[in-house]
Amino acid sequence: MITLTRLARGRWTVPAVAGLLIAISFLADRVLNGDLAGDLAMIAAAVVAGTPIVIKAFNALVARVIGIDLLVSVAAMGAVIIGEYWEAAAVTFLFAVGHALEAATLNRTRSALAELVAVAPDVAVVLRAGDQVEIPAAQVGNGETVLVKNGAKVPVDGVVIEGTGGLDEASITGESIPVEKSAGDRVFAGTVSTGGFFQVRATGVGADTTLARIIHRVEEAQDAKAGTQLFMDRFSAWYTPAIMVLALVAGLVSGDVVLGLTLLVIGCPGALVISIPVSIVAGIGRAAKDGILIKGGEFLETSAKITVVAVDKTGTLTKGRPRLTDVTVLDPSMDRAQVLTWAARAEAGSEHPLARTILDAAAAEGSTVRGLPDHTQPIPGKGITATADGHRILIGNLALLEQYGISDTSSAARTAETLASAGQTPMIVAVDDWVVGVVAVADEVRQDAARMVADLHAAGVEKVVMLTGDARLVAEAVGSATGVDEIRAGLLPEDKLNAVLELQREGHTVAMVGDGVNDAPALATADIGVAMGAAGSAVAVETADIALMGDNLLKLPEAISLARRTVANMRQNITIAVATVALLLLGVLLGGVTMSIGMLVHEVSVLVVIINAMRLLQRTRQHAPQPTQQVPARDRTAHQNV
């Protein structure tokens, strides 16, 4: 009994037996010339292939669902009754084969997610009272010390407290190059040690890990229905009953039972109902594997329409870690160290982000400033003034000097402008109303920034706009280094929001990339808010429309082109499904399409749709010099063919 059920459960058992019986029937017809034997074999084939379908149809009816199984059952039984044994056998056989193929291939479109689920760690080795204890990963307590050995999977989210080594973070960020980790670094559950030995303090366990959040996010995204899908759902809800009525009416009016039964077979909504979900599941799954989380089908459709990408300069185009780049001495009686020391003394009392840069640079050159100035006053938009050791120090821009009535500023102005045009932020230093020099800091442009902008253009984005609070000259230097199309400089956080609104009013679909802290309003207003380096932030994973898990700039163009490919794929699938149904209907009504041909075409269209969606799962990295470079070219021709 058990072996019988197992045999019956096997995906290919039923189609194989039915196929064999059909072959026997043909053989009996030819060799024995016996109609009866042939017919009996054919009926047996129909019974073998049809019984599971009838059982499913019955179960569905009990659950008050009118499904495809019912349509096929009625059609097959009708065919047997009117003596069309071959048709009955062929329809049920093809349906069984198609179903087995569908189940096998459809699972493949979900493979990306299945792989993510599979990386979830099972066991953890924790240090309890000095002993190494192996426990289920979900039972690690927050704050416990977990050991990660060479080649082992990190079982929890946490912070390295001791040890160094490499981690393959591909499951989280999509980057397969191992990352070096040492004390103080964050690690994620599901990443794999490539060498070394760590002790990790657990900060997140089980459902509270970044991996669990990613899986959750991806599943929700795959289930969220895009506008197009809701339309198709409504369409197919009407389509099946409509076909059944049409079959009944056509059968009754023409008195042609075969016509009615054939229409029933054609009425299976197979390709139609799965055309959109398969593309979305494959597209979102593929993206997740590359460390790109897309919130759902709707966001995929919007991302495919992006015409403008607005990027925050600091932290996106630049590294967000300014360095001292220049010290110009303008007072001949002073040297570089003295100018820098004066600047540092004033900055010691400042809370400005650049103050830290100056202090660190001064310390690195041997002039550590201790203590605070007697008095510090920030002048918004201009700089600061400080009093130290009885001297008044000014550090800031020309406007600050003017405010304090310093007359001889020509050389300072010239130096400042030269530095600014080179992309550095100049700060003029004056002691007791006498200009002594100019210090300049700059934020390094990220290595991939220019390529990201070029790739965005290649992905079909019309315009890349840089938004920054920095001065125009500095912004322009970064702009020309990266190739952005438009620069909006000197913006306050609320101006960034207005810039996004303005672009939207011009009719653009705007994606905004930012750190999510002071850009929050602009990110929320943009059609697509993109968070970078989201792996470390639970909020970013859960709220960003597109979350790029790693800190790789090139993932952004990759996400947009993947969205475009997925939406194109979806459209192709809808076209295939609708065209198949239309052609079949036409074929039946004009004559020539039999039940078995109808079922064959039908099952083929379902498989074509699934296989088309599976193309999205292929790796199509434009930049990696790999053998897969052929793929994009093939993709393009395929697009044109459909």
């Binding site: 669990a212 599943e219 795959q222």
Partner: protein
């Protein structure tokens, strides 16, 4: 006899979902089990979410899904 039973939220991940209308069968079958409050079957991600009280075990749920013709396993999260 306690009147307020604690409700457990169980997520199963299933295999072999091949047509969106099949999922309704699973929903109905699970819904008929005593102690099951709410069932939601997601076709695209092949997930089954069930709210049930402690009179129903996860094995019962998996068995019911198997009767509808699908293999399912309990998801860790």
């Amino acid at each position: 006899m306690n009147t307020t039973k604690p409700i457990t939220h169980t997520i199963l991940r299933a295999e072999g979902f091949s047509c969106p209308s099949c999922v309704a069968k699973i929903e109905k079958r699970l819904g008929r089990i005593d102690g099951v409050e709410k069932v939601k079957v997601h076709f695209a991600s092949a997930r089954i979410e069930i709210d049930h009280d402690d009179s129903v075990s996860v094995e019962d749920l998996i068995a019911a899904v198997a009767k509808a013709g699908y293999t399912a396993t309990k998801a860790a999260f």
